[in-house]
């Protein structure tokens, strides 16, 4: 049961965190100037968006949950499960960020999901 909750945190909080960072960056607006000064200015502006902090907090939670899971289960089991993040990410992109996830994009996400799982199973 604990392991299940930890997996939920690794996948849910990890992907949720990235979705929040994405939302924060969308509100900062498209970056067009890539000079170092401009990039630093963008980072400072992003840190003023509350979604950014929610995202960083969730990503931190996911990181420590991953460490906790890894102390209980083998890497070769843990990492294929985290491939589910790609499915969660596409769902989140559609409903939380309002992106158009077309059938073609779903097909690609599914291939990536299976591929990531196979890569990890094929590790020795």
């Amino acid at each position: 049961m604990l392991v299940f909750i930890l997996y939920l945190l690794v996948i849910g909080a990890g992907t949720g965190g990235e979705l929040c960072v994405s939302r924060a960056m969308k509100s900062v607006g498209e970056v067009k100037d890539f000079s170092p000064v401009a990039v630093v200015a963008v980072i400072i502006r992003a840190l003023r968006v509350p979604w950014m902090w929610v995202g960083l907090g969730l990503m931190g939670t996911a990181f420590f949950s991953l460490l906790a899971v890894l102390s209980r289960q083998n890497v070769s089991v843990v990492v294929p499960v985290t491939a589910l993040s790609y499915g969660v990410g596409a769902v989140g992109g559609k409903f939380f960020l309002g992106e158009q996830v077309t059938p073609r994009r779903w097909a690609g996400v599914l291939l990536v999901c299976i591929g990531v799982a196979v890569v990890i199973i094929g590790r020795r």
């Binding site: 990235e18 979705l19 960072v21 994405s22 960056m25 969308k26 509100s27 900062v28 607006g29 498209e30 970056v31 890539f34 990039v39 963008v42 980072i43 992003a46 993040s85 790609y86 990410g89 596409a90 989140g92 992109g93 559609k94 960020l97 309002g98 992106e99 158009q100 996830v101 077309t102 073609r104 994009r105 097909a107 690609g108 996400v109 599914l110 291939l111 990536v112 999901c113 299976i114 591929g115 990531v116 799982a117 196979v118 890569v119 990890i120 199973i121 094929g122 590790r123 020795r124």
Partner: protein, 138 residues
């Protein structure tokens, strides 16, 4: 359309940076930490001792630097591109890790693993044929 071509170019460029510096940072951190050895941080003195070792390792600083480049590139690309585009596209990092392991570290990459890499690349190719941005610029 010129603006669309520009959007594709800078999206690919930043995802390329993510795919190179993400795995590189992880490998460098892994190498640096292995050199320090198994750590025990039971007492505050031990914790400070480990931290001072970590902070004096050039490899670990390079790893941290790489991961910062990765994260900033990730932030920047998400300022315009869909998350449901960037996330699968950046999974090319798994292929990069396998290539690094095979050519640089001379590790054995099993046929099954190469097959997974192939599937990921196919998936990324399919996602890459969708427009990077499907929402209105905010």
């Amino acid at each position: 359309m010129k603006s669309s071509a520009g959007l594709h170019f800078k999206t690919y460029l930043l995802i390329f940076l993510m795919v190179v510096f993400g795995p590189l940072g992880n490998v460098l951190l892994g190498k640096g930490m292995k050199r320090i050895g198994a750590v025990s941080i039971g007492t505050p003195t031990e914790a400070i001792n480990v931290l001072s070792h970590v902070l004096r390792s050039g490899t670990i600083w390079l790893g941290i630097g790489s991961l910062i480049v990765f994260f900033v590139a990730n932030m920047l690309v998400l300022s315009w591109a869909d998350y449901s585009y960037v996330q699968p596209a950046s999974s090319v990092a798994y292929a990069m890790s396998a290539l690094l392991a095979h050519f640089l570290l001379r590790e054995v990459v099993t046929p099954l693993r190469w097959m997974g890499v192939l599937l990921i690349c196919l998936g990324v190719l399919v996602v890459g044929h969708t427009p990077p941005r499907t929402t209105e610029p905010g």
